[in-house]
Symmetry: C2
Subunit: 240 residues, 2 copies
């Protein structure tokens, strides 16, 4: 009897959900995160106020859903950047993923800032869409790095060189995630990640524009410094 597996009702509901998130995003882009309120979103789409509570339990959940959207979009962009190089070439694939991440960040400043520079809002449950999408995002990089390690291990510090505190924390993390890399390798990866990600956070938080209004070259320099630590050959961006 059902021409489609989900039923018309559910389809309409999903469409409305998508429309709500789109309206919220529009408000974010055009008027800033402060403007993304339940009332404003409802108004934006011709509904009035409390109707949205049929779709989201409250403001926080709406925010979380929108954030998850952004994470998924960013993940897709990063995967596309990665896949612009053939499967075996882990070096170019990683650099492509990093560049895609920044490109998405600078072409979607409001969204990136919303995701990463948010005041770490309410206690986040590990099974919320936001956290799920966040882990998927991390996964893209972690997987590629793990494959890189397996195909061509990069140089790591000697076991004794690692500070005991860092070692034990990495040990706990490796055990918890079941990642196959030795702690020394994770350490190298994390220090690269911290530099890259920290730079991006500062760019989006406008903490550096007093000296660098345009950070493209600074980012490339960061990549050039990071690449050899992962045993990669740095290559300039393909669009140069």
């Amino acid at each position: 009897m059902a021409a489609q597996s989900v039923g018309r009702r559910e389809r309409v509901r999903q469409a409305t959900l998508a429309e709500i998130r789109a309206a919220a995003r529009r408000l974010l882009i055009e008027q800033g995160s402060q403007a993304v309120t339940i009332n404003a979103v409802a108004r934006e789409m011709g509904m009035s106020g409390p109707a949205l509570y049929h779709y989201f339990a409250g403001h926080d959940e709406l925010v979380g859903a929108v954030t998850a959207d952004f994470f998924r979009e960013l993940t897709a962009a990063v995967e596309a950047g990665r896949d612009s190089h053939p499967p075996g070439e882990h070096g170019p694939r990683l650099l492509g993923a990093c560049r895609a991440m920044r490109r998405w960040a600078v072409t979607h400043r409001a969204e990136f800032g919303w995701v990463f520079a948010s005041p770490i809002t309410a206690e986040r449950r590990p099974d919320s869409p936001r956290e799920l999408a966040g882990r998927d995002f991390e996964q893209v990089f972690l997987e590629e790095v793990a494959e890189l390690w397996r195909s061509r291990p990069f140089p790591v510090p000697a076991p004794g060189e690692l500070h005991p505190s860092i070692r034990s924390q990495l040990r706990a993390y490796a055990d918890a995630t079941g990642m196959g890399l030795p702690v020394e390798a994770i350490h190298v990866v994390m220090s690269c990640w911290i530099r890259l990600y920290g730079l991006l956070c500062m760019e989006v938080l406008n903490q550096l524009d007093f000296v660098y209004p345009d950070m493209e070259a600074v980012f490339e320099e960061c990549l050039r410094e990071i690449a050899p630590r992962l045993g990669l050959d740095y290559e300039g961006p393909s669009d140069l």
Copy 2:
């Protein structure tokens, strides 16, 4: 007739201003930045609502004043850390300043996050207390680095190695601030600053606690990597 130069009235006013900022800070620490509202602050000190508008033009100005307080306190802490080493020893003084900055950040997480991870609120006028105090803070590091450079120049990249975009932006910055350092030296300083500051931002934004619940050692490692780039000898923290 005035026994004191400022007059009793003005003194009382200043005391009330200080009390307001203190109440705002208490709310921030105990209930988060969201709780710092005009009404809540007024209630906190037994006044009712609109009274605060005799002291601050609005919510934004109150926020700015509190931020300036934090900047000043952080600046004093950094200066103290710097001055725990004699005036001529620029290396230890710089490391001391960096460590003091992190110590203040981790012992005042709410305040540091408020200052540095804020959504870069309203358009900031360059003469606001917040911006003034912010520049004073930067100045502490810049001055010490400039003295270091003059007393013992650190290695810099050859002029041709600098990306033209980076070079021209640094040129503009150097000209605007009238700092006496060559652009290559500023470049080294900035890349060190970005790493240090980016790490701190990520720590306070809780972006790294999924792997590093305790980042003390990670920070020291960052210092150890940065020190040689400024021609400094890294020395472990004094409290070890």
